[in-house]
Subunit: 398 residues, 2 copies
């Protein structure tokens, strides 16, 4: 056994869809041509269709953080009071960013591994009736916890319909239902290197009519991320600045691939179901092996965070995945480094990937003083597969 | 003759270096790994070496316009008086952007095809002694004109050493000498899809110690493009946000390729010489054919802008390049659309490309009522090549 394949198994960048990677090789083209405009228009239509929304979809040449920033700078004014829900490293990014732009921030924080409860948000909305926006992560991938975006959206609609609801859905898209229109999700941020299965470099932003209206009066300065200018161009398949053409070619292929699961939003639902099945099976395998889940109360299907056994650093687990098998998985981030490891499910992952991930884990745990009856974790995944996937066509909603 | 190859012959995106494109296929990797950090560090070292500068080099996930914006938001405060030199569409971008961020802008404009003279800048510096910065395009690719960045830099140093000199060198890098340290170029912006021969999606920024010092007090808000945060990460091969990994893999290959022309800055000098030779030969071919150059007084070697013959739209020329031969060349932009067409030289272009470009042009002109003795333009390029390139090893400085 001398070959050790490198396998990218992280929550972003995620494994690449091969046809998209091949399409990227076609980047020897110019973006100000009708051929390319048609590709851009097909991507915009594909994004809207996949999310099943009437919001406008924009494609920005930036990391996802760039689209987060665009939400802030285009829709808010200095001193605007906003509520930021933070339960991890990406929640802290919202906090940092809104403060950097001079917003008056009401911080609702929950411990790592937990989530901000809807009731907390409702209290904060009641205590701050003039609030101009609410920021949250749909999936906090640093901890593997989700937020109940639906209940939060409906709570905002009910109490302060003028507030904009801004969702970092970078790892939420493709891992949970997101009904942008019905739940009042005004600005929804996505990124190319997540469930969209292509390399990093593109950010997506879904913009509601309410958010467009707000831009008329929002006073923060902006230029590169000027969304109104971008939208004027986007309707023609154009972009304000030179776009990342290679990645857009890849995106067009991925959106076609998602459509093969079913037309329109149905394809995205199937992708979400895929991640949810893998997440549920991973949780089952982990607990079968006697491991503890880090975010059991509202787990994200983007990534499952598992606590390293007592006395073992998660850094050792991550390192051995790499050194013994060539597999790249995520350690914890920030204060969770060394404490949790994270198994990703979003995008181009299948059940065979998971068999391999769990089999590697069993060997690594066993070699590091956490005895494992080899095969029991894999068997848990196999049984889940046989019962829930083969045996039924129901969507797993856990 | 039924095959018609598509050829990308524009000033950006420019033709792709094949090995770089192949390297991009390796994007199935994670950016928070030592392997990738070493690639990033090699790119940063390669950029500094190619430009022969002690300034720090940063790689941003954005179009070049993003790095232009980073220069503004990191180094200036609302109300700062600055001088913007504008002689085309990209100069107008500096004007728009500095105004969008509330700077107090002194606009020095020159007509399209011309450039802002050093004397004009000297007068403006004298009239505005407290000016905080000067903005210019090294090469204004919308018109094919250059600016005398060296003389401008020395003028600023002599009269107002506190002012930052900010250069959009997006099509300047690789087409003209740029001695960042000696000429006092404080912020120098580059882009991946230009002389760097890879697809769009990365911006480069060279930052001088003087620019870093200014950031201590500059007050404009920033987050995604926070350069100090980026630099803290860059020294470790890291980035603040997820970087465009695929493009960075391509960049590493291109920087190696440029090194093959000669070690360090010598390689870049040879790339500059290549563009300058192609530009000089193109000008010769155009005038030999009886065409008029649009920016004769200080032509850029990035792109040669040629006026369409009287009574002929440049749009017809551009369209026939595409329809008859599959070649994509640039029409004029903005108010110059239909009046000029532009032949690019920056990056991965060689003399055989130019033979083909001129041969196509001769046929197109002749077919549209501008009589051409076929082969005379090509012969001008051939003679230039025989005399100046084969016959001599001197750098063409025109």
């Amino acid at each position: 056994m001398n070959i050790k394949k490198q396998r990218l198994l992280t929550a972003g960048p995620t494994p690449l869809y091969p046809k998209a990677l091949q399409a990227m090789m076609g980047a020897d083209l110019h973006h100000r041509t009708q051929d390319f405009r048609e590709i851009v228009l097909s991507c915009i239509a594909g994004l809207k269709s996949a999310l099943g929304t009437t919001s406008d979809a924009l494609i920005l040449t930036a990391s996802g953080t760039g689209a987060m920033e665009a939400s802030v700078t285009n829709c808010f004014s200095p001193g605007d009071r906003v509520i930021v829900c933070s339960a991890g490293k990406f929640g802290e990014r919202w906090l940092e960013m809104t403060k950097a732009y001079g917003l008056d921030v009401v911080a609702l924080t929950a411990p790592y591994g937990s989530h901000v409860a809807v009731e907390e948000l409702e209290k904060a909305l009641a205590a701050n009736p003039g609030v101009r926006g609410v920021f949250v992560q749909a999936s906090e991938s640093s901890t593997g916890a989700a937020h109940d975006v639906k209940a939060m959206g409906l709570a905002i609609k009910a109490t302060n319909p003028d507030a904009l609801f801004v969702i970092d859905a970078i790892t939420g898209i493709g891992t949970m239902p997101l009904d942008i229109d019905a739940w009042g999700l005004d600005l929804v941020v996505g990124g190319s290197q997540k469930a969209f299965m292509i390399p990093p470099g593109l950010a997506f932003l879904f913009v509601s009519p309410k958010a467009w209206a707000r831009m008329e009066t929002a006073k923060l300065p902006r230029y590169y991320f000027d969304l109104r200018r971008e939208q004027k161009n986007a309707v023609k398949g154009e972009s304000s600045w030179t776009p990342a053409t290679s990645l857009i070619l890849g995106l067009a292929e991925v959106l076609k691939y998602i459509e093969t699961f079913g037309p329109g939003k149905q394809g995205m639902d199937k992708l979400v179901e895929n991640a949810q099945h893998l997440a549920a099976a991973t949780r089952l395998a982990a607990t079968t092996l006697g491991l503890e889940l880090f975010a059991p109360s509202l787990p994200s299907a983007a990534v499952t965070a598992i606590l390293a056994p007592k006395g073992m650093s998660s850094g050792v687990i991550v390192k051995e995945y790499r050194q013994k098998f060539g597999s790249i998985i995520n350690d914890g981030q920030g204060e969770m480094k060394g404490k949790i490891f994270r198994v990703a499910h979003l995008g181009y992952f299948d059940v065979v990937d998971l068999f391999g991930i769990i089999a590697q884990l069993e060997l690594i745990l066993d070699a590091n003083g956490f005895p494992v009856k080899l095969g029991t974790g894999v068997a848990a995944v196999q049984k889940y597969y046989a019962e829930k996937v083969v045996g039924s066509k129901q969507t797993v909603t856990a």
